[in-house]
């Protein structure tokens, strides 16, 4: 097992839920596949999905819901 980070591809606002009244995409401890969406980045009036990019398990999120993030900022730590 190795620890990897998932990075934000874009600068913007990070959301962990698909909509305010919906549950989070993924929680700490969830098993993920490469194509799973783990959150959204809002920028330029569009919401862009952040994909896990690797299969494994989410150890913890490093960015808060609705946090302003930079491109290349780690948003989650996963065990692959």
């Amino acid at each position: 097992m190795a620890t990897q980070q998932i990075f934000s591809p874009l600068p913007g606002i990070f959301y962990r839920k698909p909509a305010p009244d919906k549950p989070v995409y993924k929680a700490d401890g969830d098993v993920i596949t490469e194509d799973d969406t783990i959150g959204l980045i809002e920028v330029m009036k569009s919401f862009n999905e952040v994909k896990a990019g690797a299969a494994g398990k989410i150890l913890r999120f490093l960015a808060e819901n609705e946090e302003a993030v930079m491109a290349g900022q780690p948003i989650a730590e996963i065990d692959v």
Binding site: F7, P9, L10, P11, G12, I13, E42, V43, M44, K45, S46, N48, A68, M70, A71, G72
Partner: protein, 325 residues
Amino acid sequence: MAIKVLKPGLATTVQDLGRPGYYHIGIPLSGGMDRHALAAANLLVGNEEGAAVLEAVFMGPELEFTDDAMVAVTGAELPPKLDGTPRETWTSFQVKRGQKLSFDFLKQGARAYIAVSGGIDVPLVLGSRSTYALGALGGFKGRKLEAGDELPVGTSSASVSEGRTIAKELRGLPAGMPTELRAMPGLYWHRITEQAGNGFFSDTWKVAPEADRIGYRFRGGKPLEFVPREPPFGAGSDPSNITDACYPYGSIQVPGGTEPIVLHRDAVSGGGYFMVGTVIAADMDLIGQLQPNMPVRFVKVGMDEALAARHDRAGLLAKLRSSLV
């Protein structure tokens, strides 16, 4: 020669220096949001300054070249990689047939200009190759790039060498925090109170996530207080409404008095919101390089300072040009 789009990036479009002359009939200027960086990219690869390039915002595309070409990436610090090997920004580099150009995460700025020797050879529409996506006009099929697109590239007669570079002081990027945007108070300045006017120029504003090629929205400053009035004929009841008027490029409208929007290259040409002033031409490129949440201040200037600043900005490009001869 063509470029295959493997991955499009977020909103990558073909842009040149723009399509002036039709704003009065509702067709905006379009063209690169940082025209200084766009011209620089072209000069580095031996193109005319106004050749069409790719403008990539926040995130780079992934491209495959079907023939050899000279390439340069300017503007934002969006580090290029050629077949996975890092290349410098603001520096020309040779791409061989079959090689792939991709990009690392954005380090600084917002918009990168990717120039290819020969220029992106999409058809001229009303005198320009720029994309106006909202109007589905110009560029590559009037839209942002999509995976699978094949971009035609012109032939280049220039022979330029690899490793031509542009010194930091000639890049004309935003310097300092907050970024200072110089603005002239406009025709509707009288609509807000003196206190609101002072607050507008002394507050620090932050780029909102809605900022795009049409306009840059800012928030975080105090709401503007309006001078009471009877709405004139044709104006709405909101105190920020006016009888419809022309919107200049760079004009700062403040709907509801809360969040200023600076109109940029793909803006609408008219409407019914009052404009507190206009960002001067010399500082419009800087806006194109602002990321969400970055702080800015509006700095009050008069016409003389605006014209002097425009002269200085043109001088910077002249220096850049002569540095490459």
